[in-house]
Subunit: 227 residues, 6 copies
């Protein structure tokens, strides 16, 4: 994880997991969308996209197609919800932070890498806002950290999704978003092949909690490093 | 649940949960999308939509906006995945079934009502296809039944989402898709307010399994009734 | 005709003609579109759509195509014009009523069924507004009732379009919108095959007036019944 | 009416009515749309549009808006239907003629001018096709001529819509499409203000038939002139 | 060049070059786009389009496709930039002029004809605004005139692009926009086949300057003539 | 310039000019677009885009807007034309190469950086194709190299556009695309403020040729380095 990769954004992180590379930027702007005006609360939202040749074969740009696919929408919403779960929007004041997660190279796990990297960019942007005096130094908009992992059942064995393991092969694929203190923000498990039973679900959740704890440490170290 | 509500479709069900009403139709066509041709396998997909005045205040039609929102995409994909989990696509032959779930009135729980009703429409369409001889009478495309429930934590208490309970009030909202034999197809839990811990998650899953079992019985009875 | 079918809308009617079923809802909102502000007059408009599997074979959703077809536009405009012809927009005050006519099942005559059902939903919504005190009880926004019929020449014989008669077979197809007092609001006749002469046109108009008078009675009875 | 105004198209006419000017071109191509292939029949269709500054104030281009409005669709369909009513599609062979009616200046009556001018362009294109040997010289695809007029009730008086009479003032506006032999192809009457009665309707139809007969003469003369 | 061809617009010119015909209209409106409000400066912009049958074979309308192609965008921007180069936007006051260049017939050179004709329409609109008193009679928004030519290398010979010379055959194609006083506004040269060297470039520029000077004379004469 | 930055694409380069960073990838696929099939010739095309936060303030994604802006189209076409000028499409065989130039950070000069970097990615992809035997080792699809520079007149002084010089301040802005052997592929000069005269144009061209020669050397060195 490289923080401050982009020199234009208020916060940014380049996150690399095996052959997956996601550039996360946080754009801080004063003011909120119209439907929130005057509520004394801020807003955090996210957009996810892939470069056309992030993948092994080129896919058409969504801007060329003229519409955004269901998968893109789904992941954008997941990232936004995950970050809002650990943000105190009131403490943010009437400010908006937009997280952009652009996948430069994709080799599995792009949605979990996006959540994990977006948190670092978000933390940077909040530090920036405090430095600029846009948010009072005493404000605590971040209630916790957040990271995401992908776990799955491959050939009957629950395992933490290593980047080179193709999601495609997984019988069950589960994305779990966990706070730094170990609580769940999102649990999204899907049986790609056979439905899964309760004990498989339990093993997957155990793995996810352990994996997220490791990511939380890396996030903390990255943010402690220099920009 | 009323089966055969539509006289035009190969399968259909009108499902009513409190003030929620969803019309599910199954359209059976011979042939498969181009990318599946010659694979000897069928295809099942779904589309979800809401009438503009299904809700308490009118919302703009997605056809008028010219694009489909993220929420609509997400639910359409969930329904499609849920049904594919209990279908043996090979046994379906090179045929396609499209499920349309149109919400006529919405009062919470529309996505879970859609999955549950769509299963009945799907089963009807398969029975129709066998009756027409399009699928051999001996084929068993349905491996199991499937139903969905919504569970949530309201004021700290995990509860089965009764239709009149506003999703909005829930601190955690979880949609669980379960097969007739009690295995999981989808687990989608989201912390709307505070993150949830493992024991809360376990209670929610217990409730979901119990609720789905009841729905499976209603589905079986509906399909046993006359069209 | 069932009034009050939807529990969410200010007015609604489910109209069934043979195998055709159209759900008409009326959404009453205070205020008018920007271009009418401050004119002291209300607005009434309509939108028509078909569920994808309303017809014998499934058609693609207009929201998926990303645009609304010419036929849909045409019928939406016809319904709106027909209702505005019998409404005193000044007496409505600065309020807007949107009629949504969604075809649940289609077997011919959906546009005339929509006009006829929309009138009932409109009348309900106006009664609701008076009941709520949004419109003064003494106001008379409804100047008349309105209904529509389809007439055609089949095998040389002018006839009132019975639902099971396929429009497709008609040599001439005419939609006529008539007020409760027997005047014309719209006359739309199209020669599908051979052009028609004046005497054929006269017979069609006679039939239309007679048919509309019967519909006006059913509308009155429906509105006299309980919600 | 100037025939052959465009040197690129197989048929064309510039029609001028007062301050209204419409350029009609006919594009003849061999082959038919996919859904007609192998039926041994041709196809005729039309598209209508207005230049942005055809009117008194500029309106936004539909290409810039990204969608075609309801009015444009409606008129395009009217022109297409009117021409197909006088064409023997079988005699046309498997060929397609697309009529484009582009309004260069608009001062009322653009839809009726379009139908009337499009007929001349169509006749030219058919003559061209016979000249080229694409259609046998003995074929008779044109069964009749066709023209359209607009009639209306202004201040209670039925009158033939002169171009400078604003449609806006009309209480009733009726577009009538009539063949050269005096039969009706389309009758589209709309009460803009008060509904109209049967005797008003009869007067309007009489006027329309007389006006169309004059247009038919002008069309014949134009086509008899040199290209 | 015919000035005042359109009776609706504040300025207009029909420009004909061989078989190319472009209708240029200038729409003058008071006020400026939102991003310019209160700056005390005006705005000039342009839109270019082709009728579907302007060319030898019909092309689909951009309004039907639902999007504007790259070529259309490019030419619209070129026209706008060219005119802004000779306009003193401050002297225009807070007014907007939109130039519409619609190609009625295309036989090469449509973009240069558009720039050249748009200047005449612009000059007419400014004269109109002075006549109306919308701009003070003493204001001088036009700093110079502007015209465009296309030059190219055909079979190794640099030549002024005569309309009947197909752009397609050119090895190098260059559009040059030149002011009435002989300075360059735009130089856009593209090697279609082999790259070109400095001496070829010099010859092309010489030709362009000479050709533009002739057009400047025709523009002056057209504007001196009666409307 | 870093070659081979992306591990997924057949060719790629990350080009950095001051604070500008563009990721160029080349996607090699067998086969050509339909309109070229059977011509025995290949195709090279390009797409340009900017990440939303590449710039100092965030701009909306074109995929979210649902359409591609004129500037994006223009630059994509420029890149494509520039590369096709130095490619022998016949020697490429029936293969397609798509260049994607995605701006990760923008600080001026993104279009010229894109052309320059895209050439490196293209050369890598061709080397890859020869290595794979898709193109015969003896084929010479690359006739030359190509690079682009931006030159401008700042405060009356023609200068090579250094990245930190804002294009905005330039009175004249010229993009010049030059081959490795010093010939011109594109010359695009625009007077942003005052028109420019012939001697200014000459100075700009001299600067451009000199600057491109330096880039050609860097390109050669980058391609000589290891992937």
């Amino acid at each position: 994880m490289t923080r401050g990769w982009s020199r234009q954004a208020e916060g940014s992180a380049l996150i690399e997991f095996g052959n997956t590379r996601v550039l996360c930027t946080a754009s801080f702007t004063q003011g909120v969308p119209r439907w929130l005006k005057g509520e004394g609360t801020g807003w955090v939202t996210a957009e996810y996209a892939m470069l056309p040749r992030a993948t092994n074969t080129r896919s058409q740009r969504e801007s060329v197609k003229g519409k955004i696919g269901g998968r893109t929408h789904e992941i954008s919403r997941l990232i936004g919800r995950s970050l809002r779960a650990i943000i105190d929007l009131k403490a943010l004041g009437e400010n908006t932070i937009v997280l952009d997660c652009d996948v430069l190279e994709a080799d599995g796990g792009t949605r979990t890498a996006s959540v994990t990297g977006a948190y670092v960019a978000l933390a940077e942007a909040i530090a920036w806002a405090k430095g600029q005096g846009v948010i009072p130094a005493s404000a605590q908009p971040l209630k916790d950290s957040v990271a995401a992992v992908s776990v799955g059942i491959i050939d009957g064995v629950p395992m933490l999704d290593l980047p080179y393991v193709e999601d495609v092969r997984a019988e069950t694929d589960m994305n779990v978003v966990v706070t730094g203190s170990g609580d769940f923000v999102e649990v999204q498990g899907t049986a790609e092949g056979a439905p899964f039973n309760r004990s498989e679900l339990d093993s997957l959740l155990d793995l996810a909690v352990a994996g997220s704890a490791e990511l939380a440490i890396i996030q903390r170290e990255t943010l402690a490093g220099e920009r």
